[in-house]
Symmetry: C2
Subunit: 344 residues, 2 copies
């Protein structure tokens, strides 16, 4: 079989970082990506060529295409952090050769996943069980491992209970389900109330709706009753800061996302001193390399088992082809609860 | 010798905590303390009665009398966290008995130090070398041990360099001298430039003046050149937050005081995620019990040696009697560079 030397891709129009912090969601995707015939680099040992089946749009992708994610853009390269596909060829090496023909979840470590083909490091490809849906394979790495790692932080903090904002997101739902199964109590914060029932059945211990007029009172009561010591934060607004300052001694604010454009104020600095509070961050790209290969394999096996059993499921809001995606992605993201999937 | 059953004291007029966060410095001391004949509690085993020689006014005392420090006030008790005095009597127990007649630095653990007599736990009394001045004994614990512990944090962070604001304070000068002797580099931040030369000779590697028009540029250059990983902060204003966000990956903002009334904004939340930054606090009252008795003894011996040799010296701005202190303390604090000492 002849291997392709170019591929259709949603390629980055700009390189490097944005000159200033950007919003969580760009105004127009067309400012940042374009449909292009992207040359595929020659495979090096340890690399594989993958025919992409499906790739999700994650919040981190939207920061990345704008140049405000933690790694610089390479102009002309495809965007997209993760996906599912079939391995067509290997650049050599035992691990890469063994993957030929396999369906894998993978990270776009060499070229991005928003493309018909991608080149990736074999070490970061995960061969999938046959009973796993493509949708679950496409979103197997970023969100599930983030959920596992964040709940590990909660355990490390010696706390049974935690606060989770943006709890209605895809990642939020994964965290809620896993937390319940591990005996951890989630106080789920959402903006509007229509998802409350659903999040309770997804695993939340309590649901707090931040647009309710009595939100502060209800949050205070829930905090006094459950004593959460960790705040898992994907929003970073003033409501988040206020929750943090309402938490008990030793509380840790763990920022892993920034969906709000607000700059929260620290109104009670003294709590860092007298109440031993902390603010810190979580980034999967730092956590993954720090975990041992054995640990990663064990976690990945757990993650696949959870999806295969139906304990976790990736909800799909819509599927878009690459040409449709440039103009269709942002409207699709606004509509749906669930992932927008690119299907080359 | 008959022991006194009451003593002259600057007693707290209120109990518990303030209903809301307060300023660093009260408007009127007379709202919070009054000259009173305070009954001295009967000595329990392990406690000693001390005739107070001298007691300093620390920033933490000013927060405490207003009810905005990390422990609640006891109405009618004397204020004052530390002092120097002579032990008059013991409530029994080997350690307490051994202190009778000794000149000690002590913490006001039972009654406060702003009084003619105080009751304290013998375990927190430090017998003083004869060659140590009363001034140095009076301020031997809070500032010196804070300096030692904060520079330990700098070392733990794997950083040679650090930023220190409020660097002209008594504690700031202790930190600068110790840092130089330990081979650590201090970027000293002060509000106005007239102390710059003095702080360089006190041990600062660079002095940055926050009221200078080119402060941000100069700070940026110093940060790029020295790569400080720790920010020792006694101010907590927006300038502090801006310095933090200008620091390199892995930077830790360690808050140990709050002299500004500002609520700083976190303008770059993403740095917690991508740059592994942290905000945390330091409180001597948490650090002291966590250190082993052997460790504390060794540190205290070091601290006394530094004062006795003149490597450290407590600068005294003014001395006030207890009756003078109620109205005289705040004007004296405003004037001087150095400690205001109460001399009962």
């Amino acid at each position: 079989m002849a291997l392709p030397s170019t591929t259709k891709a949603l390629a980055l129009r700009e390189g490097g970082y944005a000159p200033a912090p950007t919003a969580a969601v760009p105004d127009r995707m067309a400012d940042h990506i374009e449909l292009a015939d992207m040359p595929l680099p020659a495979l090096k040992p340890g690399q594989v060529l993958i025919e992409v089946i499906m790739a999700p749009v994650n919040p981190s992708d939207l920061f990345y295409v704008q140049g405000s994610y933690g790694q610089p853009r390479t102009q002309g390269n495809a965007a997209g952090f993760e996906g599912v596909g079939r391995v067509l060829a290997s650049g050599g090496g035992k691990m890469a050769d063994a993957l030929i023909g396999a369906r894998v979840a993978f990270l776009g470590t060499v070229t991005g996943t928003w493309a018909a083909h991608a080149v990736s490091d074999a070490a970061l490809c995960i061969p999938l069980r046959d009973d796993l849906r493509d949708e679950d394979g496409a979103a197997l790495i970023v969100n599930p491992l983030t959920a596992v790692a964040l709940l590990e932080r909660v355990r490390e903090a010696g706390s049974e209970a935690f606060i989770l904002n943006a709890a209605g997101s895809q990642l939020g739902r994964l965290i809620l389900g896993l937390a319940r199964d591990q005996g951890q109590k989630a106080l789920a914060v959402i903006r509007r109330g229509h998802d409350a029932e659903e999040l309770l059945s997804a695993g939340a211990t309590e649901v707090l709706v931040s647009s309710d007029s009595d939100f502060a009172t209800r949050a205070g009561t829930a905090i006094r009753s459950h004593k959460p010591r960790v705040l898992l934060d994907a929003v970073g607004d003033q409501i988040t800061a206020d929750l943090f300052f309402a938490m008990p001694s030793g509380a840790r604010w763990v920022s892993y996302g920034k969906m709000s454009d607000e700059s929260p104020r620290l109104g009670q600095m003294g709590q860092f001193i007298f109440m031993d509070k902390h603010i810190e961050g979580f980034w999967l790209s730092r956590w993954l390399p720090a975990a041992s290969p054995e640990r990663r394999s064990a976690l990945i096996a757990d993650v696949q088992a959870r999806f295969a059993s139906g304990a976790w499921a990736t909800r799909v809001a819509s599927r878009l082809s690459l040409p449709e995606a440039i103009d269709g992605m942002l409207p699709a993201l606004e509509q749906g609860t669930g992932k927008v999937m690119l299907v080359p």
